[in-house]
């Protein structure tokens, strides 16, 4: 898992991930690259396109307007990002930046179009700042300036466009301040809608020159008590950035969907941006509409749209606050594609609880400190490795080392694979119980000499069966692993009646017959024909009986016939090894044919050779007759169990063929474990 950039903190989490039915994913940084690039600007009532090409070959926009100068200045000053040292030779877009994604984008954009940001910042020294916080959704800073009114302070603010607009009483057009009117507000909304509708992150910028009389030079700005005006600012413009989705995400979301996993987007970003990204990655698939989309298409009010027609929905954080538990459950149950936008971290926890109430196994991704409750509450919490806070990494069960959503899919696949392979290994091991127990049962019921002794049973359980059983854990995934529904943790058990039915009732019985056949062959070829064995037990085990007669009239001492009995144990043991060859090959797959799956599991092949070599060693090594009472076998006795081994293979291949051809049929219901 670590090789695939998935750091697992506790291993049970991987199995839980395999039964995940819902993933609540963060947007920025998980689904997207978090590499913002400024794409559009809106000022002077026009949308301008920025040059996003790497080498400045695109057309540049008109930089003559004074509004642009102000906008660029705000973008440069109200910004904590800086270029890393010693990168002057690199092209601007390739330079490393210390700072968050949006600010880095702004920095690069301004550096490209206006020249050195560093110089700009030196000319306008910062005296105070209020950093960004998720409640206010803005940040501001106050700078000394020489421009315009000499020696006054410039307050620059940037943040969520609607918050910036709320605090603006004026708007700058062509460099001149004008009071804000309804027409301007509407133009703003249209621009905001359009840019947001493109899936871009829109930031609003505003400024105000603080009047010198109220704020003379040397004024002590208090950022905790806020002893200055933060309203009645002058709105300057919008800049929008694209944070492109990660390349592997649409594919990963598609895989989740076909694996029956619901993907829910939960983000603090704007609903329109969220919806656009959701459409881009496939969380809202083609052809699925929200109630708003249907209303827009049919030109009817939203209230007239039948909610059942909309499979997708986008829910705003403010609406979420007003929902009751039942309404929340309703939404989660009736929509297959959900996006929660402008949510607070507390609401994330509510969403997770809602999903869990409906019985889903929920995986949650998060990177912030206030994601920790949701990460803890989730059945499996996934933290970001690079951009995640230490608290979120502590709270999480799994860490994505490259912040990539596609790694979660890898984790899901791995989790399902673990569960599947565990089933296979258990089925393999349980099967050999029947040929180990039936000899003793028949010994008691039919009074025949003991076919399989304790030492040989141990040789199977602790010797030859170990490597093949473990090798099944390394089995590759069967082709349908990501096309099945997630496991229902209440109903789909690891060991179910079907597994027992196959292992004990079917394959185990064939194995037992193979062993008994070898037993009867050894005894018959030494002189004790099968019919004469029934009822012989008391005499056979009597130490004082040293002239026991066989089917040919010969008489055997106790030791002589015991050697034959131990040879039978060895032959039964070897027969179990032979039939377990077939068993391990059929347990490789639960649905696919072995020919489809291939024999690429090298450990399994090694296991087959190792168990055979061990069996041969135990039989033929000098001294085994004294140490373990296991005797060399005549070569023909190795082949006694071959027909039964072959039968196991053929029977199971046919069963799996019927299973594949008749999905949902009787064979699948009764034998697909």
């Amino acid at each position: 898992m670590a090789r695939k950039n998935c750091l697992v903190k506790n291993l049970e989490a991987v199995e839980t991930l395999g039964s995940t039915s819902t993933i609540c994913s963060d947007k920025t940084g998980t689904l997207t690259q978090n590499r913002m690039t400024v794409a559009h600007m809106w000022f002077d009532n026009t949308i301008h396109e920025a040059d996003t090409t790497e080498d400045q070959s695109g057309s540049s926009f008109d930089k003559s307007s004074a509004t642009w100068v102000s906008l660029a200045r705000i973008a440069a000053l109200c910004n904590r990002a800086v270029f890393k040292a010693a990168q002057d030779t690199l092209p601007i877009l390739k330079r490393g930046v210390a700072g968050d994604a949006s600010e880095s984008a702004l920095l690069k954009c301004i550096e490209l179009s206006c020249g050195s940001v560093k110089a700009m910042r030196e000319k306008n020294k910062k005296v105070a700042e209020i950093p960004f916080n998720s409640t206010n959704k803005y940040q501001l800073s106050i700078h000394e300036t020489e421009e315009g009114n000499e020696n006054s302070y410039l307050l620059v603010m940037k943040g969520a466009p609607e918050r910036i607009l709320d605090r603006s009483s004026h708007i700058m057009v062509q460099g001149k301040e004008q009071p804000m009117d309804e027409e301007m507000k509407e133009a703003f909304q249209n621009a905001y809608q359009e840019l947001g509708g493109l899936g871009e992150r829109v930031l609003g910028f505003c400024h105000v020159f603080l009047p010198e009389d109220k704020y003379p030079k040397g004024f002590a700005f208090d950022t905790d008590e806020v002893n200055f005006e933060t309203d009645n600012l002058c709105f300057v413009g919008l800049m929008s950035m694209i944070d492109p989705p990660r390349a592997a995400v649409p594919d990963a979301v598609g895989k989740c969907r076909s694996a029956g996993i619901k993907v829910i987007m939960v983000t603090g970003d704007h609903p329109i941006t969220a919806k656009a990204i959701a459409k881009g990655v496939g969380i809202i698939s083609e052809g699925n509409e929200t109630v708003e989309d249907i209303a827009a298409r049919l030109n009817i009010p939203v209230s007239q749209v039948n909610p059942r027609d909309a499979k997708a929905c986008v829910i705003h954080g403010t609406d979420l606050k007003d929902l009751s538990q039942d309404q929340m459950d309703d939404i989660l149950r009736n929509h297959t594609e959900i996006v929660f936008a402008r949510t607070s971290p507390q609401q994330k926890l509510i969403i997770v609880e809602g999903c869990q109430r409906l019985g889903a196994i929920v995986a949650v991704t998060g990177d912030g400190v206030n994601d920790s409750p949701a990460l803890k509450k989730a059945d499996i919490g996934v933290a970001m490795g690079i951009s995640g806070s230490d608290v979120s990494k502590q709270a999480a069960d799994m860490i994505l080392l490259d912040d990539n959503f596609a790694s979660i899919v890898t984790g899901v696949e791995e989790g399902r694979l673990i569960f599947d392979n565990l089933k296979k290994s258990i089925a393999y091991t349980l099967t050999s119980n029947i040929p180990e127990i039936t000899p003793f049962l028949f010994f008691i019921l039919f009074n025949i000499p003991l076919p399989l002794g304790t030492i040989t049973i141990l040789c199977i359980d602790l010797g030859t069966d170990m490597v093949p059983a473990i090798s099944l854990a390394y089995e590759a995934a069967e082709s349908d692993i990501m096309k099945r529904q997630p496991r229902n943790p209440l109903r789909d058990k690891l060991v179910n009646e079907r597994l027992i039915s196959i292992a004990y009732g079917q394959i185990g019985m064939i194995q037992a017959l193979g062993g008994f056949f070898a037993y009867f062959v050894v005894l018959a070829e030494n002189g004790f024909r099968p019919y004469d064995l029934v009822g012989i037990r008391l005499n056979w085990d009597d130490r004082s009986n040293n002239d026991l007669e066989d089917s040919y009239g010969q008489q055997w001492t106790y030791e002589q016939r015991k050697i034959v009995e131990f040879t039978c144990h060895t032959a039964f043991f070897v027969s179990i090894v032979v039939v377990q060859w077939a068993d391990v090959i059929i347990c490789k797959t639960r649905r696919n044919s072995v020919f489809q799956q291939g024999m690429r599991n090298k450990i399994l092949i090694f296991g087959l050779f190792e168990e055979t070599a061990l069996a041969a060693l135990l039989s033929y090594c000098p001294g085994m007759d004294v140490a373990l009472r296991m005797y060399p076998l005549k070569p023909s006795w190795w082949f006694c169990a071959f027909p039964y081994s072959f039968l196991i293979f053929v029977y199971d291949e046919i069963r799996k063929l019927i299973l594949r051809r008749n999905p949902g049929g009787w064979v699948e219901r009764e034998t697909y474990y």
Binding site: E525, N526, P530, D547, Y552, Q554
Partner: protein, 280 residues
């Protein structure tokens, strides 16, 4: 409010009790399966096991076909014969004055020797002493057996002394080599007995010197050699008053041939150790 009440009622109706796992009256399921489901699965297993039984029978039949009627395929586990005694108890304890105590031993000896009666032995052949009685060329024919009359055991034959010496405190023990098909011991095999720890006691062997004649070999198996009788050696323990009430451990071995009698693991290969205690 109404909806919550409805929910409670509905829940009570749908609640499953533990009894439902045995027989669920609503769905007609017995132990989790309907009757038709049971019928199908039992039918499947019936057919499956019938097929397996058939396959097992077939493989067994094929194997039995490959076996010879007269000779076992492998005899490497019985290269040398064991030695066994009659009466077949390794601990012989009795009081010579109480007939009930030694009656079981006497009866066993008597019933064992029935097949050695003259009436039975008349059917067998008088063979040449000191030579193997080879009948290999007479394929597919019933092999003939050599005579061993009861009289060869003289005092221990039970003819003159019907108590086989038990009543007089001088018991007879019969010794025989295990039958092995095709066995041809080389040399001149004879049985000799000795007391294991204490002073030796006098013993008498019948036939003379406890020898086993080579004419009784080879044995051709139960089917071909129906009338075969094993050569016997009788040893009469001539116990004296000092030997009564003492537990004597006696070991008898076959000597004078290539038959093994000193195997470390098998204490009954070519020898036998038994304990005898005569109370007076």
């Amino acid at each position: 409010m109404a909806s919550t009440e409805d929910k409670v009622v509905a829940k009570q109706e749908n609640a499953t009790t533990w009894k439902d796992s045995f027989y669920n009256p609503r769905t007609g399921e017995f132990m989790g399966r309907t009757a038709s489901s049971w019928a199908l699965i039992l039918l499947f297993y019936l057919v499956f096991y019938a097929f397996l039984a058939g396959m097992f029978a077939l493989t067994m039949w094929v194997m039995l076909m490959t076996l010879d009627d007269n000779v076992p395929k492998y005899q490497d586990r019985v290269p040398y014969p064991g030695l066994a005694i009659q009466p077949n108890s390794l601990d012989i304890i009795y009081n010579k004055s109480e007939p009930l105590k030694y009656a079981p031993y006497v009866q066993k000896l008597e019933s064992f020797l029935l097949s050695y009666n003259d009436t039975e032995q008349e059917k067998n052949e008088e063979c040449t002493r000191g030579e193997y009685f080879l009948q290999d060329d007479a394929e597919d024919m019933e092999k003939k057996a050599c005579r061993f009359k009861r009289g060869f055991l003289s005092l221990c034959s039970g003819l003159s002394d019907t108590n086989f010496g038990y009543s007089e405190g001088k018991p007879c023990i019969l010794l025989k080599l295990n039958r092995i098909i095709g066995l041809k011991p080389r040399g001149d095999p004879y049985i000799t007995c000795a007391v294991k720890k204490d002073e030796p006691i006098q013993m008498q062997y019948f036939p003379r010197e406890g020898s086993i004649d080579k004419m009784y070999f080879p044995y051709y198996g139960k089917k071909a050699h129906e009338t075969y009788v094993q050569p016997l050696v009788a040893v009469k323990l001539l116990l004296t008053k000092e030997d009564y009430n003492k537990e004597l451990a006696i070991e008898c071995k076959v000597e004078g041939s290539d038959l093994r009698n000193n195997d470390e693991r098998d204490k009954f290969l070519g020898r036998v150790t038994f304990r005898i205690k005569v109370e007076a």
